[in-house]
Every structure is written in C-alpha cells, then in structure tokens.
Subunit: 163 residues, 10 copies
C-alpha cells in the first residue's frame, strides 16, 4: 500500500458518503483544517488519536490507521510548476514577489529565513461588495543563519542583526 | 538598456549611498514597500509621480524614469525552483500545502481561484519570546470560473456556488 | 478511482455507443461544448444537474456522478510542450505572439492581465474557398494589478490607467 | 548585431521619444498591430517598405533596416512556461482547454490542425459594466493531415472527412 | 482502454502470429506503410474501411476498431530527446541542420514553413557496394506566414515573396 | 573569439552587402548549399580552400579563416525543442513518425541505424497548383549494430539480417 | 506484454534459480556477455538461435522468444543523468573528458565520429596490489562526416583528412 | 556590479597574490573557513568588521565592502545536479541516503527537519594508512513541524513526540 | 517483482506489526542503521546472512531474500530536487556550500574528491536547551585524481600535492 | 577572468599560430594528451612545471599561469545531453550499455563502482581495411561500497565479495 493509494481510497469514501471537508475535519478534530485535509491528501501526519478517529470514520484497517500516523514523503502530489490554476497563482506570487520579500525580511531581521516548518496559517472568507476575498494569515518563525567559528561554536564577536 | 541593467544600477547606488529599503520607499512614496521594492528589483511598475521621485532620488535619465513606469517582463529574476533558501521556503509551502488549499477554497467558494493580480499583502514582525515571527497577511479576490453557453454568455441555469 | 480512470471509462462508452461529442453535449446540456467536453476529459466540473444527466447517459454510479461535480486537478492531461500537433499550434501562437499581446494589452488597459478564469470562448467553422477556417472568439475580463499601500488598501493617489 | 540587440535599441528609442505602440504602428503602416509590434520585438518580419519606414522613424542604419526585413529565429524571447502573468494566462488556456479543442476540431473537420501560420487575429476592448474585457478573434486555416499511398500520392480511396 | 494498451495488444498478436509489417500493411491496405505502421503504433488514424480490415486481421472488438479510426494524442510514444539510437539520428539531423534549412527555405520561398501536416514521405533501400543506404524522400507544402491588416484581412500592399 | 561571434560577424557582413545565400555559396564553392550555409552558421566545417574563399569574400583574418576550417561544437545554435516554427515542424515529424521509421527500417535492414554522419541531402522547390512544395531527398548509410563475441571480434555464427 | 515486463520476468527466474550472469551467457552463447546481458535487460536483440536457447533456459512462450529477437526501444531503462553511482561514473567521464576526446579524435581522423553502432567492447579484471581495476577496451569505427555537392554526390575536390 | 563580478575580482586578486584560502580566512577572521570562503564565493555574508578586513586585504571600494556585507542570492553558483565530481559526490549521498536519513531522524525526533540554517559544520583531515580521509562533522537544530489549531495556536492536545 | 514492490511489502509488514526501525535493525544486525534502513528502502544491499535474518523476520520467499542480497539500481526512490523538506535541507546544504567545500578540500588535499563509496556516517541526537540537534559525522576517503602519461601509467614527475 | 575566458584565449592563440594539439602537448609535457588537452579546455589542472611551460608557450601572465594550476569547476563546458554528435555517441553508449555494465561489474567485483577519479585512458588509431577504428583503453580502480557498523568502523562480519 502506498500513501497515494490510501488517499485515493479516502477520497472515494468521501465521495460516496457525500461528506464535506468540514465534516471530516470535525470528526478527526484538534487541528487546523489545512493540516487535516493535508493529511488526508498525503502531505501531513495525524497524531495517534486523530488517526484513530479517521479510522473509525472511514472504516480503516489497523495498517491504514498506522499509515496516517506516519510522516509522508511530502510534496509528491503537486507537479511543479503547478498545472492547476488555483495552485499556480500561489506559485506565481512567490516567483514575482520572492525577491522583494527577501529584501524586506533581511532588512528587518538580518540574514535568515522564515521557517516553513515552525509555521502556521489560517484562511478565511472576507465578504466584499466587489467580490468576496480569500484572506490568508500566516506566521513563521524567523530563523537566523548560524554563523560559527572553526570549533563549530558561535565565535566571540558573532553575528549581530543589521551588522 | 534592459530592466535588469537598471536594477543593477539602482542597487549599486543604494549600496554606495548606504540607503535602506525603508528610506527608498519613503522617498518614492504612496505604495506598500513590497510593491516599491518589487519595482526597483524589476518586477513591478511605478506610477509616473513615483518614477519621477525615484528619478530624483537616484539621479536617473529620462529614459530610465520611463522604464520604471513600464510594466516589466515579470518573473525573470527568480530561478524556479528558487535556489535561495528564503524564497525556497515559500515555494515549499505551495508545493506541500497547495492541494489542501485547493480543497478548502473550492469547498468554501466553489470553482475558481484566488487572484494573484487583485491581491494585496502586508508583512510584519511579531515579537515572540521563543524567537520573533514573520507575519504575512494576504488577501486576493476570489474569481469564479466562468461557465458559459454556446453563445459565450452565461446560460440561464448557470453555475451556482456549491452546486 | 482517479479522474483519469473515469475519463477512460467515459471514452470507452462513447466509442462503444458510437456517440459524437455533439450528442453527448446535447444530452448533458446547458453549457458550451468546450466546457462539457472539457469536463468529460477531466479538466472542468459539471453542475449537479449536468452530472446527473451524464450519469443517466453513461450509466454511472453515484460516486462517479459526484466526481464529475468536483473541480478536477486541472492541466494534468496535457504534456507541455504539447506533443500533439493540433494542441502544439496554440502553444506556438502564445510563444511567438505573447510579447506582442503583452505590449498591446498593457498599452490599452494598463498593468494587468486578461483573465483565464472569467473567460469564455466559441469556436466555429468558416467556409472559405481556399480551405475552411477555424474561427475562435474569446473574451476575458481584464484584471488590473492591484496597487496598494502599507495598510493593504489602495492608497489615496493610486494607480490610474496609462500613468 | 543580434536581433535582440536591435530590439533593445528600438525600445530604448521608443522610451526616449515617449512614443506609443499605436504611433509606431501608424508610422510603419500596412499590417495589424500584432504583427508590427511582433516585428519590433523580434518575432516577425517587416516588408521592405515597412522596414524603410521603420528605418526612417528610428534613424536606423542600412544593416538594421535589412535585419527588420529578415525572418527572425522565432520564439526566443519568451521563456516557456511563461514567467510573466499576462502571457502565462494564455499558456494556461492551452494547457487546460487543449484536449477539448482537439476533440471538437477533429469532430468538425476530421484529422488535421488549425494552422498557426496561415492565421490572423484581432484584439479589441469591449466595455463592460463589471469590468472591460479583452476580446480576441482569431482564425486559422484548417489543414487536413495528408494521407498518402506508397507512391507519395494520395491513394484512390483516400481520406474523407468523418471517415 | 488507452491507445497504448491497444498498441501493446496488436504487437502481441503480431509477435504470436509471426507477421511482418509488410503483411499487416497489405491486409489493411490503401496507404503508405509509414502511415499504417504509424496507426498501429498509436500515432495515426485509419479510415473506417482500413480499421475494419485491421479488425478482421487482428480479431478486434467493435470499440477497438473504433479506436483505430480515432485521431490519437500524437507524440506520446517517443521520449524527446529520443533515447533510441535509430530515432535519435533524425533528431540530431534537425538539431544540426535546422538553422541551415531555415535559411535556405526562407531565401527560396519567403517567410513560412514546410508543413508537417500536408506532408508525404517514402523510404526505400538503395543498394550500394560500400553499404546499402536508406533513402528518404519527403515533400511538404510550403505555407507562407499570413501577414494581415487590422481588419484581419490581408492588406492592400501585402507580403510579396522576397520582399 | 567564439564560433558564434564569427557567425554574428558573417551575418552582419551579409546584411550590409545585401548578399544572398546563393551568392555566398557560389563564391565558396564545391559543396551542397546545406553544408556551406551550415558552416557559416557554425555547424559545419569548410575545407581549407573553401575557408580561403570565404576569407577573401568576407575579408577575414587568418585566425577567422582557421576557425572556419575547424569542426565546431555542433548543435549549440538550436534550442530543443525548437522554438522556431520552421525548424519545429521537422522536430515534430521525428517525434510523430520516429517509431514507424524504426519499425520499417529494422524490418528491411535488420538491427542498426541510418547514419546521420555518412548522410547527404538535397532540397528543391516543386511547383504545385495548390501551393508549391518543399521536396527533401536524403540518404544515409545503413549501419548495422555490431554483434561481437567475448574477444571483441564478430563470432563465427554472427548476426545475419532478418535473423 | 512490454519488453520491461519480460525483463522483470527473466530477472525473477534468475533470482529463483540462483543463476549467475556467466551461467546465463554460456547457455545462450555466441556473443559477448555485454550484449547478452544487454538483451536480457531489454537493450539488445538476440539472434533467433540465441533467443531459442534463452527460451529453453527460462521456459518462455513463443511470443516471449520472438520478443527477445526484436530490436528493443533502446535507452528506456536508464534515467539520465544516471542516478546509480556505478553508471553515473561513466556519464561523468563523458561530461568531463568529452571535449578533449573530440579535439584529439578530430585532429587524428578529421571531421567525424567514433561509431556507437559499429562498436565492440570487452571488460576484464586486472589484479592490482592497491586494489583491483576494471579494464575496458572498446573500439568503434571512425565515420567521417560526408561532405557532398548539390547533386548529393561527393564533389570533385571533396573532403580530405586534415584539410 | 553583480555579486559574481565581485567574486571573479576577488579570485583574480587571490591568484595574482598567490594567497591561500587559509591566509584569507585568517585576515578576515572570526568565523569558520567554510563561511568565509562561502562569502568570498558569493554564498554567505560577512559582518561589517569582517567585510572591512576583506576590503583592506583586497583593496576594495566602499560599495564592494558593502556588497560583502549583504546577504547574497544563494545557490546561484552551483549547477544542479552538480557537474563537478567533488560536489556531485555530496549530491549523490543525499540522493542515495536521503530516504534512510528521513526514516531515522523521524523515528528519533518525530515529524520535522534538521535545519540547514541553524546549522554548523567542520571539516578535518584524518590520517589513514590506506589513504587519508575527509571527516565532516555537522550539527543542525531539529525543527519540529508545527501542528496548530484553527486559531493558529497549537491546540490543547497537540503533537507529542512519537505519537 | 521490482525492488520497489518489495520495499512496499516490507513497509506494509512493518506497519502491521508496529515495528520500529530500531527493532528491524537489531534483528538484521551487523551494520549501521543507515545501511540497513537503506537496504529495506531499496538503496543498499544486505549480505547473505543479513538477508536471511530479514527473510525470517518478514517471512520472505527465497527470491525475495535473494533480491535483498542484490545491489539495487540506486537513487530511484528520491525525486531531485527532493520535494520532501527533510531531504531537501541536505540538498540545499550541498547547493549553497558546495563551492566552499570544493575550495577547502582541494587546498588541503589537492585535486580529487571525497569518496561517496568508501564512506561511513553516524547520526546522533545531541541534547540542547535551545532545542535538540541532529549531529552527523561522516568520513570519506580522499581519492586523488589520477594524472597519467601516454602509456596509461603515472609518469615520472607525476602529481604532487599542492603543486 | 573566468576559466572559460582563458580557454578562449588559448584557442585563439592556437589558431593564430597554427599549432596542433600534438605540438602543444609536447611543449607542456609529462602527461597523457587527454589530460593536457583537458586542461587547456578547462577541465583538468596542470602541475606547476607544466603550467609554467604553458605560460611560456602561450605568453601568459602570472595569474593566467596560476589559473592553469587550479582545479577547475569541471563539467561546465559540455551541455548534457551532448549536442555534438561525437560526444553524444559516448553518452549513448552509457545510456544503452550502462545497465549491462552494472550487472557484469557487480557480479565480478561485488557492490561498488569503477572510479572515474583513479582512472586512466589511452586512445589510439587502429588501421582497418573497412575503415580505421578508434580504440580506447581505460582502466579505473574498483572501489567497493564501504559497509560499516554503528561505530563507523567496518563490523566484524563485514562485507565479503559475492556474499
């Protein structure tokens, strides 16, 4: 069994039962919908209690429940560049705005990155008379590049922001 | 003169003068820093008054000012997949979370996309005892796929959300 | 079940029954043939009534009907660059004429794009003594790039066309 | 001198003079703007009289005028997939709709293609209260695949449409 | 059923029966061997009478015969660049000689292409004491680029060859 | 000096002088136009007498003449897949017809290839009331795959055609 | 049945029987081990007597024996660049040394190639106190580029080596 | 001035002066040689005092010193897959061992990554009678994937290691 | 049976039994966990005794045990660039630091590489109040490039380090 | 100065002087021609005495001589797959024969590779009445994969050939 086979099975059941994602997320519980849907689609892991909930909801075998509790090989479900227009628009934002984001984050925080691991996000619908908008709020921990000495430890006069 | 040559010239001046991005954005004025820095880096266009401000600040020729008022060939400055870690992390978010975003946006809004054109964003620093965080808030207009009849107009019993 | 498996099944039935696309589109009804054929080929979604019509015509299960009402992962059916000559010719038009289209649309409308989402098209045969022609008429909403201030709102002296 | 160097020079002059594309097309004359702008951008050829007009307008050398009368190595100016959002949207249309176009054209015309060579197009602005639209009308000659016998000539009971 | 599955089935039968391509082409009849073999390999379409012949020869179902009468999604069977040495050599000819062919065809015919659609070819063996040679004769219709005015029609003083 | 710089120089002179390819080929002499144009474009080598002729015609330095007598790094001038429509059509022929050519050549000659090295071609214009045609005749030596024994020599009961 | 399915079956039998490649090559007989192993792995063809031997050894059907006698679509079994370290090292040799090989072969032989078709090789183990070495001896026929006149024949004062 | 131009200049000076990397690192001081050499090669940033040291050593302008203090666009100097054998071997280690590293790190630490940002390394030579060895010691902070609730905060019964 | 099918089977059993990697490695014994897990995942080979242990643990057939004792086609399990964040971080280290590693290793050892074959590594967890760290220690034999004379042997005044 | 600029300069001088590679190799001395030509083409390093010889021969500056003594960034001069037919043929050999080489080397030597670093080769012309042949003899050290225990040392009952 591959994770993508399990995903296909779960989507088949969702379709047959006529469940919404909202319904599935409520039954599994505890996390943001982005994470739970991500786990069903084979990109995230569920905790053991969540996987047990999913097992009950979908009628899964012990091995299938165990698989939902495993960290998947991430990123395998999305061709890059994305062919689907909805996902492509996010890719385009990164391509067009990436250099400006880099310049501004580095001016504010110094050398480093915004983590894609210690990272959370929320999505909401914002009513607007000209057409509703998708609002996304995300926050990621800033991780400074570690500058270190020959010993592997940070040297005495190490990196200071803005320096 | 290519846009990338102008970008290189502007960055050389920035370096020689020791200006920050904040300083440049204040002098050009009127827009989010993301857009103004994007324009300096060759991904966005400045309005005529902004381009004039930039021309005064950087000491540009008439043709260089005109170029800043042109829509550039976007996306040429970023290799994809991004080689720079800071930009790559955003790419990874799209690759890993894209399918879940698609599922949730379509369940909420129906068939369509979040626009990458009618789109705004803001970035801010959020203090945090475990390490400050980069917070990004973005909102894009939801654009429903147009479903139309043979005449090119939307047919009588057209697309309704959730249908 | 994957969407491409459903597509394969539908094409098998079409072949066995000897149906034309015209016949299928009439039975499903309501939309342009481009959209309905697109849905059968796994690139578009049908509304619930249309999917029900398709289900009756092809003798589909409840889950298969539900799948036709889902937004598919678009773009997965076409290798790019297209290997098929008919599709490649359109790709070539974009590659060769794209820069000129960009220049002319931006001169007329300002910074923005022609939407590929709020978009309709019609195809017709035009008799011609030197050989009939395929005539394609398409129209897409022009979406101006949103230029916004630090607050995320459009600033006072915002973008004006041609400026 | 490469064609792209000439393009860069022409765009520099356009910028310095503050000319619009409309102005340039009127001065060169005779063809659709799509073709003339395409020639300036290095994708099309101008006739000798048109190239002479361009030479006068831009103040070009004899060799530069001759280059405008040459067929360029087409398609070199556009990265594929296009990184620029305006051009990408057309690429996406082909990727998403290509299979449906293929099915419908072949059902109507038989085996063959719509020519991208014997091909014309026009672009116009259509006012619309919900936002103006870009309207594109294109027509290409249908070219049937030649089915031939061992001698290289079409055999007696050759291909008939719909057969 | 996919076209490649049908190809695999036909090749299995060919192998079991010990038939040569010559034999198969004679039984199907009417066209050049290049086209008939191309159809068996999933790159060309057979006419209805030819498909019926093939059906009888291979013992095919009605749907399989119908599939042979369909225009396939061409080009899917050949990885590019070709990994097989025999096919690669042709690819190499195009890569190495392409620019010279372009220069010579355009000098002789003006701006346009040699059609790959209205195109025929024949292959023969030429005895040679130093080693027999493969002789290929191909002819394609020259298609001039259409130069047109704003109305979509060819303007008064249109394109003349060599101009 | 790179070969592409020399090509650019030669094309500049050709443009300034208003020479045709035919004229250049006559002056250099001795070979097919395909080869001589190929050499000017950096894909073929000229013999010493031919290079001397070219040197006289174009007014070249000794080193430039020597470079025309060198074997170039072939294939560097053509992006693959070709972006230019004229060259792409040949690429498409290989992609679509390659498998059939392989099947037919192997049935006729056995295991091997048609050489792209010991290879000649001629191009001519064939008048045709429906539109003139480009006729290409090419012949390449058939090279059988060498089947050999452990010693590196062909073993006693070696490969026989058709076996 | 695809050639790769047959390869998989043959390897399964090899594994179950515990046969070495040496054993298989002896049973099939007549050719270098490189060729016979290549045929089992789907890259070479066996003669009819060899295929019969293989059929007896592995217990194959008539169609499977026939498939071993067919020329396969070569090169499909190796991802390029090779991911396997053993194969990658050969790829690296070509990448790093290719330009020097080209220079030296052309200086010695003139314009042409070393054939990869009329080509043989042998591999042997050479004992060495610092670690045994793999010794490879290969020889390929030098094929001179054919330089020809307009008629397709080699012209009077044709190509001479070193000229 | 681009960062790669500065790198080229610094390497030219290093070559002319005959300096070793060790010498340069001592003069710039404070950090591991991996970081300082990385900065000279355009992949890392130097602190202001270090950049000043570099400026004195190499005789740089104020703008060049400022550039060494900027965060570069990382990863632009290495083609991937690496063509250079020394760098390729590390790439190969990741390709071959990556899945095992993933399995073992996740079993030990739970879902997350080893940071490539908060990361240090040291390289040393280890004498060995069979041939000296390169010893690399690296340590990176383990960053657990953040699992969060709808509010963006970690939910009450959040992720626990091994769960 | 393909190696990836065996991997899938082994992972299914691991999941059903609820075994940890530690448990599996203890049962198979003798090697570093990196190697044993690598073998289970299809990247390494087990010795015969180890494969026998694995066969007993997982209940494998004789052919499956034999397959574990075979050298696999390495590198097929990891898309490159890696899509999984954990593996990507290692890829990024190589891309960003590769040129510096090359400079330092060559200055210390001369021309050559650190072997990825005669190579060992260990991974351990290092407790750290700011977050535990993954520590990796690896050592690879330095292999000097062989510089040799025309005879294939190292010439008299061969390569000396630092020369 | 980049290595490729130095290569271009050296080739210009070679062309102007009319030197053969043989002449250059004799003047530089000591190594196989493959290595010396490789160094001139930017793929290998010369020892200090050899670089001094080259400096004298070509009239190089001190920095240029120093550059010839540096290890270059290998592999940057050859596009892969190679576009030049001579180099491509070697690439094809690896692609087609790679799997068989892997099978035979591993059966003879066990798990490991033939080194591309501790590697030598010689090329010679072999007269042959059917056409002279290029004979290449190469030998590379076999490097066994190191199988090691948790301590990083080879465990007691380590890897034995054939096991």
């Amino acid at each position: 069994m591959k994770r993508e086979d399990l995903t296909e099975k779960l989507l088949d059941i969702k379709r047959e039962k006529g469940w919404s994602w909202k319904h599935i997320c409520e039954k599994i519980g505890g996390y943001s919908e982005v994470l739970i849907v991500g786990a069903i689609l084979g990109q995230m892991k569920l905790t053991k209690p969540q996987a047990a909930n999913a097992g009950e909801l979908f009628g899964l075998s012990k091995a299938e429940v165990a698989m939902l509790n495993e960290v998947p090989m991430r990123g395998t479900g999305t061709p890059m560049p994305p062919t689907d227009p909805l996902i492509y628009r996010f890719y385009e934002m990164v391509m067009v705005n990436g250099p400006a984001w880099k310049a501004l984050i580095e001016e504010e925080f110094g050398d480093g990155i915004m983590s894609a691991i210690d990272f959370d996000m929320a999505m909401e619908r914002v009513a607007n008379p000209k057409g509703d908008r998708v609002k996304i709020t995300m926050s990621g921990k800033f991780l400074p590049y570690k500058y270190y000495g020959a010993s592997g430890n940070v040297p005495e006069y190490g990196f200071k922001e803005g320096e």
